[in-house]
């Protein structure tokens, strides 16, 4: 079943940079897709247009039957509550504890008063505890987030997204600030989220080998255009070179050689 459908999507920042031009793709429920491409290609812009953190210039986006670009304010909150987002720099509220940050994921469902005072139901708190355990953070639960390691912070980020009970996760360079060990843990968790909970994942990555290892499908972006959309098995050296330019191509594909490791 199609969960997300993007048609003729364009984005121009002011009168300057054209960040996306005529982007078309669709995503099936339960797919794990990596979006690869050089820095500045438009990957972040693309993800953020999907939940309207950035307003697209023109085009059509359908998510779960909703016409994303036509939603009013209230409907937009509803849309966002169904889409979790994970960031390169985790974007936690640092002075707050892990559990408080995780519960922020429920704010999209709250009335003004309840959200303002931070009133969460017993069920929500139980859900938060379960997810925190699932991500192996039970020992950090009352720690301030600025005392956590990068990998732990990103797991809090994932927990905050999961407690939304989302249909889709948008991950913008989730492992770009992490060491290889923590990166593997995070990617394994994301893959598990798709496999076991059936949550669709759209992941921006610049590590081609990681993308090839974990994804069901690869979308290659270059200068705001989709230049590849297909299975990771069919990503050849030529395609990588086309996306990244000739020099970097060899280097990245070499690492991509030991896939499945």
């Amino acid at each position: 079943m199609t969960l997300l459908d993007v048609k003729n999507l364009n984005k121009q920042y002011g009168t300057g940079t054209v960040a996306l031009s005529n982007v078309n793709f669709s995503v099936k429920e339960g797919e794990f897709i990596s979006i690869i491409g050089p820095s500045g290609a438009g990957k972040s812009t693309l993800l953020r247009c999907l939940n309207r953190m950035i307003e697209a210039s023109s085009g059509e986006i359908t998510f779960d039957g909703m016409k994303v670009l036509q939603l009013n304010k209230k409907e937009l909150r509803n849309l966002r509550s169904k889409i979790g987002m994970i960031f390169q720099h985790y974007n936690l509220v640092n002075p707050l504890s892990v559990i408080e940050n995780v519960l922020h994921g429920r704010l999209g469902y709250k009335s003004t008063m309840k959200g303002l005072l931070g009133i969460y139901s017993e069920e929500e708190k139980k859900g938060a505890l379960e997810i925190i355990e699932l991500l192996g953070l039970e020992e950090q639960i009352y720690k301030r987030c600025d005392q956590l390691s990068g990998g732990q912070k990103q797991r809090v980020g994932i927990a905050r997204a999961l407690i939304q009970k989302p249909k889709m996760l948008l991950c913008d360079e989730p492992i770009a600030s992490l060491d290889p060990n923590a990166s593997k843990i995070i990617m394994d968790y994301l893959r598990k989220v798709t496999n076991e909970m059936g949550i669709t994942c759209l992941v921006n990555l610049h590590q081609v080998n990681v993308a090839l290892t974990y994804s069901d499908r690869i979308i290659g972006v270059k200068q705001g255009k989709i230049v590849y959309d297909g299975l990771p098995q069919y990503v050849t050296k030529e395609i990588i070179q086309d996306i990244y330019g000739t020099e970097s191509g060899e280097l990245i594909l070499d690492i991509g050689g030991n896939r499945g490791a």
Partner: protein, 188 residues
Amino acid sequence: MGPDIFTVRRNNRIFFFLALTAITVSSIIVTEYDIAKGFTSIYKAITWSLSNFYPDANAMTRLPDIMIKLQETVLISIAATTVAALCAFFFSIFGSKTTKVNSILSTLSRGVASFSRNIPDAVWALILLFSFGQSALTGYFALFFATFGFLTRTFIETIDEVGDSSVEALRATGASYTHIIAHAYLPL
């Protein structure tokens, strides 16, 4: 080709200096201020204040009176600061780039804040003294305006420092504007 940036800077500086001089000179003329006399009077001012402010026997008899006024002053300053902090909170939220509701309101609150901060509290006191006479209210307002401006600026800087990263995350969960203020900024 546009004019060289260094030339523009230098011209700006010259213009600024000239404007400042013009304002100074015209205020001297308007207030009939005698520069030479201003400097020679410094000595007189010192002797005057030494002879008048030095506590003598009389001062002791007035001490209870002074204590009452002192207590009043402390209470006034507490009241002024609390109310100023509350107002500054709202103005800083409207004023900061990351939390502003719209640009007009933002510019307006920043403007009000810098205006009341850049006028020193002594000047506020003078202005209010002439308008309201010497009363508790005058003192209250003088403290209020100066504290309000100062706090607003400080709060705005703090909010800007948090940056938009956690705000972005909360916005992406579907949190509303008030939720974001309450959960991303108030924890500070």
